[in-house]
Symmetry: C2
Subunit: 335 residues, 2 copies
Amino acid sequence: MRLSELGEFGLIERIRKTTPKGPGVRIGIGDDAAWLECKNRSFLITSDLLIEGIHFDLRWTSFYELGYKTLAVNVSDIAAMGGRPTYLTISMGIPVNSSTKKVEDFFRGIRALGSQTGVTLVGGDTSAARLVFVSASLIGQAPFGAITRAGAKEGDDIYVTGTLGDAALGLEILKKNQKVKKWDRAFLISRHLFPSARLKAGLILAKERLARAMIDVSDGLLQDLGQLCKASKVGAVVWSEALPLSRAYHSSMSKNGPVHALCGGEDYELLFCLRSRDRARLEKVKKRLGVRITCIGKCVPSRHGIRVITSKGKSLPVPLMGYDHFKSKFPVLTS
Amino acid sequence: MRLSELGEFGLIERIRKTTPKGPGVRIGIGDDAAWLECKNRSFLITSDLLIEGIHFDLRWTSFYELGYKTLAVNVSDIAAMGGRPTYLTISMGIPVNSSTKKVEDFFRGIRALGSQTGVTLVGGDTSAARLVFVSASLIGQAPFGAITRAGAKEGDDIYVTGTLGDAALGLEILKKNQKVKKWDRAFLISRHLFPSARLKAGLILAKERLARAMIDVSDGLLQDLGQLCKASKVGAVVWSEALPLSRAYHSSMSKNGPVHALCGGEDYELLFCLRSRDRARLEKVKKRLGVRITCIGKCVPSRHGIRVITSKGKSLPVPLMGYDHFKSKFPVLTS
C-alpha cells in the first residue's frame, strides 16, 4: 500500500499501535504533545537531522538500517554526556508514493535499537516531501550529572573507545564498490550502517567520575577533538601510531594511511579526557566498559593547537576543519 | 555573507551568541546534548515539521515570520495540553547559497515569540538541503496536569477560542492576490503569518479544571474536532451560525460561506469541551483568558458522528477528513 492511500492519520495510527508503551509514559503518541515522567529533576535533549543524499543514500541503505542509525546517532550524543536515553520523537518527510512498508521498516529499525537501549517513541510528525529526511529528538537522563566538552585540562590523557575510521572506509566501499576481502567488507559496511553507540561506557565513565570531558566522534576524530579542545581551552598531541585501527582497516591501510581514522566521520566512538592520576582507576573499570579503550594522546597548552605526530617525532599536517555541512569539504591528509 | 562562507560551526556559534541563557538551562547550545532542569517531575514534548512548498511559501513568508510561526505552532500544541512551554530545539535544512542574514532573521523570529512565551532555544542541528525545512521540538511543563483529547463526555458543551477561518482566508488572499479591503487584508494575512497560540487560555482552563478535553485547531475545525471525538468516543453537533467569525471574515462571507471556518487550517485556536454544570465557573474566569470564547455545539453519542446544522435544523454535508499531508485533499463544502 502507498502512503497516499493510507493517509497521514492511518500511518500515525499504525505507528502508535506497534509502539510499546514504555516506562514513565503518561501520554504517548497521538495527542497534541507527549506527557512524560522525569527522574533526577533534570534531563538531556539532543536533536539530529538525516537527509537523503547528504547523510544517507537509499541505494545502499534500507529503511530498517536508516531507522536503526537515526536512533544510534542520537543515543551516541546522550552517551557522550554520560547519560541514559529514554524518550524519542521522530519527524519524517517522505514522498507520498512511497510504500507504507518502508515507513514500517524504518520504525522496526527504531524499535530494534530502542528495545536494547531503553528508548520509547513518544511522538513526532510526518509530512509529504520530495525526498526522505528524518529529524529526531532524543531525551535522556543524566543520573550522574552531565559530562560536557569543557572539562579537559593540560596534561590529561586522551582516550577513545573502539576503533576509528571503519565507518568511513565502509562508506567508501559502498560508494565506489571497492574490492575488499569478504569479511573485511562485511565488517566495515556494518560499522557504517549499524553504528554502535557506546552507552554503557559513557555511563560508567560518568558514574566513576573518570571522564572530565567527553564528545562522540561523529564528524571525524580531529574535528571532534578540535571541538573538545576549543571548549576546554587546551591543545592536543595525537600519536598517529597509537590510533586504534581494526584488522579490516589494517588490511587496506597501505592505500589509505591514517586519514580515515583521523578525518573520517560516523565512527560514533567516545573521545574522553582523563586526569593522569586516574589511570589506575580506569584500569579497574576497563573490563566493564564493554568496549576496548586506547590512549591516543595528551592535552597540551592551547597555544600549541592540535598536532598529530609519528613515533619518530614527525608532525603530520592537520586540517583543523573536517566535514562541514555548509562548506562540504572532506580534507585529505597528504603526509 | 553566504552560509557556504560562514560554515556550519560559524553559524552555530552565531546562534549560540545571540541566544539568551534561559532559566533552568544547565548546558545550552554547543555540546552533544542540552542539560535542563525539570520541575513538577514530568514534562511535555511536541514536535512539528514545516517544509517549504508544503507548509510555507517563501514568496510571501519572510524568514522572520517563518521563525515566529515555527515556535507559535509548537506553543499552540503545548497550550492545548494546558501546559507552559520552556525549551526548544530547532533542526533546519537550508540551501548553502542562502545568506546568513536569512538564518539570523529566522532566529530573531524565534526569539521574538520566545521572549513573550518564556521559551529558550537549547539546541538543534543544521544541514545543507535543496529546500528550506524546519523541524522543531518544544518541551513544556504541565503544572496542573495535562489535558488530553480523550476526556469529553456526551452532553458536554463544545467551545472554541478566538475566531475561525481567518488564517485560511489570509493564505488564499496571498496565493490568489485577491482584492480585499486594506484593513481586512492586513488582518487576515497577519492571522496566517503570526498565529496566536492561546497559551494563557490553555493554562487557566487547566488550572481551573474546566476543559475536560482539548485540542488546537491546526488542520481545520472539523478535522480536529473529529480527532477529539474519536479519542473521547463521542459524536458532536456543531451549530453553523454559532461559529465565531471575524469582521474581516464576514465581509468576504458571501463568497465563502462557513467553509473556511469549518475546514480551513492553521487557526491555532483552542477547541475544548466543558461539563454543562461548569458554565457558571467558566463565565467567572472568562475575562482572564485573554481571548473571546464561543460555545459552538454539544457532544452527542458517538453513533451520531459529527453533524453541522443550521438554525433551521438543516444538516450541512460534513467531510470527515480535512487536510491530510499524504492524501493532500482540501475538502470543499457544498451546501
